[in-house]
């Protein structure tokens, strides 16, 4: 066993920012908007670093697919304790069309290339809420998957996992190599402190990869027809689902607007 863990980190619009649909309805405005690491990816990085500190694994490699700015996200992961970073350069139109299927193909290819023992991902990204990448990666590699993990412990070459499911908690035991996706209660991520950020800037431990045609970013695209903001809340009608959202909005905290995405 190589003792190497791949952690996927995604650069997304920060959760506190109020998003705005572009005037031409082709998506949301991202230019100049504050971005940060997906909160579930932070939890995944923290878990990987914790496993390394317990000496159960040897190396943590942070992977991100995206444009040049994804390197900042990788740097944050390095500052949290990852050893190496891999930036898969995807920009422009390819980046707009990048979805879970393409990312899982990239991760599967990298897992084979790096001889990874474990892949740790966040359960979903807060921009698309797809919750698919972990599962697809496991299927492509034909590895067992432990999704929505709220507790992970390694026992020899097996993993004990507690999963958060609708009915409560599920305890499973899976073989390695495996894919695990992190849920909220897995841990509390540490801060990326300044000395570590300085180190990661100086040492530049990030490799740049360009996806090749075998990874084929064009296959399996989901065409996006339109992005619209949801309708304004109408007062007076008693719909319990709507009531819940209204109450949450009234607490003064910004809430993510759910976009309707039409696809075939």
């Amino acid at each position: 066993m190589s003792g190497r863990v791949l952690v996927g980190v995604k650069r997304v619009i920060d959760y506190a920012v109020k998003i705005r649909v572009k005037p031409d309805n082709t998506g949301v405005v991202t230019d100049g908007v504050k971005h940060s690491m997906n909160p579930f990816c932070e939890i995944a990085v923290e878990e990987a670093v914790k496993l390394k500190e317990k000496k159960l694994i040897k190396e943590v490699v942070a992977v991100s697919c995206g444009p040049q700015q994804s390197q900042e996200t990788i740097r944050t992961a390095l500052a949290m304790g990852a050893d190496r970073g891999i930036h898969v350069d995807v920009s422009g139109k390819d980046y707009e069309n990048l979805g879970p299927l393409q990312v899982s193909k990239i991760l599967a290819a990298l897992a084979k290339q790096e001889d990874a023992q474990l892949i740790l991902l966040g359960k979903q990204a807060i921009d698309d809420d797809c919750n698919q990448t972990g599962q697809m990666t496991a299927a492509l590699l034909d590895w067992p998957q432990g999704t929505f993990a709220s507790e992970v412990s390694l026992e020899g070459d097996k993993i004990n996992l507690v999963r958060e499911i609708d009915g409560g908690l599920e305890h499973i035991k899976i073989n390695t190599p495996a894919v695990i996706t992190a849920d909220l209660r897995l841990n509390t991520p540490r801060y990326a402190t300044l000395p570590n950020i300085m180190d990661s800037l100086m040492n530049n431990e990030t490799e740049l990869h360009k996806p090749n045609h075998r990874t084929s970013l064009c296959v399996g695209l989901i065409p996006l027809f339109e992005t619209v903001a949801p309708e304004d809340m109408q007062g007076g009608t008693d719909r319990s689902g709507a009531m819940l959202r209204h109450t949450v909005l009234q607490s003064g905290k910004p809430k993510r607007i759910i976009l309707s995405c039409l696809c075939i």
Binding site: Y15, V17, P23, G32, Y191, T193, P195, M198
Partner: protein, 626 residues
């Protein structure tokens, strides 16, 4: 949001026990008195402030055994604040270093999560300083895309508008200037800085100034992370980092919290007037294309403010490919009526018949607020001290009638860099006999006095104080017309300000409450939805960074005498007086997560009890091109 008052109210008996324990050991008299009074008085005040600047950790048993040592690093120059002044200084330093082939380590720490995210300004930029710093800014793609084409000035009454001709020579005339989105310009400056080799660290706030034994400035320390809301350490607690430098530049912007400490420590304000301020609120609107007139600059004074309250509005039509306008309202913080709410004046102004048509059919996409300097020439403090100096809006170089401070801030940063560079790299050595660890750079103040910044500020020094007369606004405008437009500010006298802004409030019983109209949801809006648009957020589980020196004063004094003005002047709804859970009376609730870092509360609190300190870095607003 969660109120810290509730939980600690139940813990009071424990606090009493704790106090008994502390009393017998060495407790500083100050700590003893405040805690003692709070825990053992008959009027029990729920504990609000838990920050370690008010409750030191070395006496707190929860911190026993916690590793408090900090990692330290050395740089040649550390700059606090990644705004126009800080970045201009950094760029100029590295330009000089690269030109003379010297190695120079310049680090900029900035509390915003990315450079430009805490920047808010009108803004009409005078490109003079930028051209001096980066002469080929156009080729490099600086976001100055909107030259001013039309300049309109009005005096507003409730229903009508009196146009004022904008003659050349008046300070508000904008020929040759650019309407910019300052956040984008600062972001561009950040990219230029990285290109010349400056180390930028956004997301890390300078929380503490470090001193050598002889009292000179050694550098700064960034904020600690992982402290819980009640002041105790969390599992993920980590100390901040120390950055030591030969000279530290403080460019925190208007009313910086570290600068506040430095004024006291080095007595920098003994020969100048206290700084006076205004609050500026701003929104960005996407308007109907038919109403869009790119390059048009509109300013107004008058309604809805009365003639004795300084303030006015701006509305700029940007030209960046989409029909975007930047509009806002400025209210001088020397207002006397505690019932005045700058936010609601702003919302009210938007309904004026001259303004509303532009906004009809449009959509608001951003909101923010920040305090700005109005003291001008009379309020400039001593600028240098052993180991450091002050640049930008922190000491305050804003040209008030022009409402521009960016060009002077950048120039001050550049002059600081030019004064420091020869001292850092040999030639002159410092005043100490052998090579000391710090630099004192009084040449910076000398150079500033000989530059166009000084001349410009001197010429307009009497315009703002001239508003303090019976005729208020109109007296001030007449004064400006005679003494500035005709005599160019050469009159031999220098008018004084009226004292600090905090002392200007009259007790609530002497003033009439103001009836503000309800927001209509199309042009005017309520406070909370506006705050949501600023994208502001802070890690919830940290001590509130709006610290009170004495937790009992807000209800006793601010609410009792002034009817709680902080509920009204805070543009983010941080302060709320809510009924106590048990019994009668009110308590102050601080919603620290809403804070947009405008600093108005620190300035205007009539009891000067609120001390704004920096929260965990990366928190605060997420402005995008404001």
């Amino acid at each position: 949001s969660f109120s810290s008052g509730c939980i600690l109210f139940k813990r009071q008996p424990a606090v009493c026990l704790l106090l008994q324990k502390i009393k017998t050991e060495h407790a500083t008299p100050q700590l003893y008195t405040t805690l003692h009074r709070r825990a053992c008085s008959t009027v029990s005040t729920p504990r609000i402030t838990t920050h370690y600047t008010i409750h030191p950790r070395d006496k707190d048993p929860r911190w026993e055994g916690v590793e408090m040592e900090r990692f330290a690093d050395e740089a040649d120059v550390v700059i606090v604040g990644g705004g126009p002044a800080g970045l201009a200084a950094a760029i100029r330093l590295k330009q000089l270093a690269n030109k003379h082939e010297k190695e120079l380590r310049v680090c900029v720490v900035e509390k915003a999560p990315q450079i430009g995210a805490h920047t808010l300004s009108g803004a009409c930029l005078e490109p003079s300083a930028l051209t001096e710093l980066i002469p080929d800014w156009k080729e490099r793609g600086a976001p100055l895309n909107t030259p001013v084409t039309e300049d309109v000035f009005s005096i507003l009454t409730e229903k009508y508008r009196i146009p004022v001709p904008m003659m050349p020579g008046l300070p508000m005339q904008n020929h040759g200037n650019y309407i910019v989105r300052m956040g984008n310009l600062v972001r561009w400056l950040g990219e230029q800085a990285e290109e010349v080799g400056v180390e930028l660290y956004p997301g890390y706030a300078a929380a503490e100034v470090l001193f050598h034994e002889d009292g000179s400035v050694k550098g700064i320390a960034t904020n600690d992370v992982g402290i819980a809301k009640d002041g105790s350490p969390k599992d993920i607690f980590e100390r901040g980092m120390e950055l030591h430098a030969k000279v530290t530049l403080f460019g925190e912007g208007c009313h910086g919290h570290l600068a506040k400490q430095l004024y006291k420590k080095f007595n920098l304000r003994e020969n100048c007037e206290p700084q006076t301020y205004a609050i500026g609120l701003k929104e960005l609107w996407m308007i109907d294309e038919k109403k869009w007139r790119p390059g048009r600059v509109e300013h107004s004074v008058g309604w809805p403010l009365d003639r004795n309250t300084y303030g006015g509005s701006f509305l700029y039509h940007l030209n960046e490919g989409e029909p975007l306008v930047a509009l806002g309202f400025v209210v001088g913080l020397d207002y006397t009526n505690p019932y005045l709410s700058p936010f609601r004046e702003f919302q009210r102004w938007k309904h004026h018949p001259f303004v509303a048509p532009t906004l009809e059919g449009g959509q608001r996409i951003a909101y923010g607020a920040r305090a700005l300097n109005e003291g001008g020439f009379q309020s400039i403090p001593k600028l240098t001290f052993p180991g450091g100096l002050l640049i930008g809006c922190s000491p305050g170089f804003m040209n008030v009638p022009k409402i521009k401070g960016t060009h002077t801030a950048m120039k001050s940063g550049m002059l600081a860099a030019e004064a420091i560079f020869p001292k850092l790299t040999g030639g002159h050595r410092t005043l100490t006999p052998e090579w000391g660890p710090w630099l004192h750079v009084p040449e910076y103040a000398e150079n500033l006095k000989n530059s166009w910044v000084w001349k410009e500020l001197y010429a307009v020094r009497n315009i703002r104080p001239s508003f303090h007369n019976y005729f208020g606004l109109y007296g001030g405008m007449i004064y400006t017309g005679i003494f500035y437009w005709i005599f160019r500010g050469k009159e031999p006298w220098t008018l004084k300000h009226c004292g600090t802004d905090a002392n200007q409030l009259k007790p609530a019983k002497e003033c009439t409450p103001i009836e503000y109209p309800k927001p209509d949801g199309k042009i005017s809006f309520d406070l909370l939805s506006s705050v949501a648009l600023s994208g502001t957020n802070h890690e919830g589980d940290q001590p509130p960074h709006l610290t009170l020196k004495d937790d009992s004063i807000p209800v006793a004094r601010n609410l009792g005498i002034y009817d709680g003005p902080e509920q009204r002047f805070c543009p983010a709804g941080v302060y709320e007086y809510v009924p106590l859970d048990t019994g009668d009376g009110m308590r102050l609730q601080i919603n620290a997560q809403n804070c947009v870092h405008c600093k108005t509360c620190d300035i205007k609190d009539p009891s000067q009890n609120i001390n704004w300190v920096v929260p965990e870095g990366g928190g605060g607003p997420a402005y995008n091109g404001m």
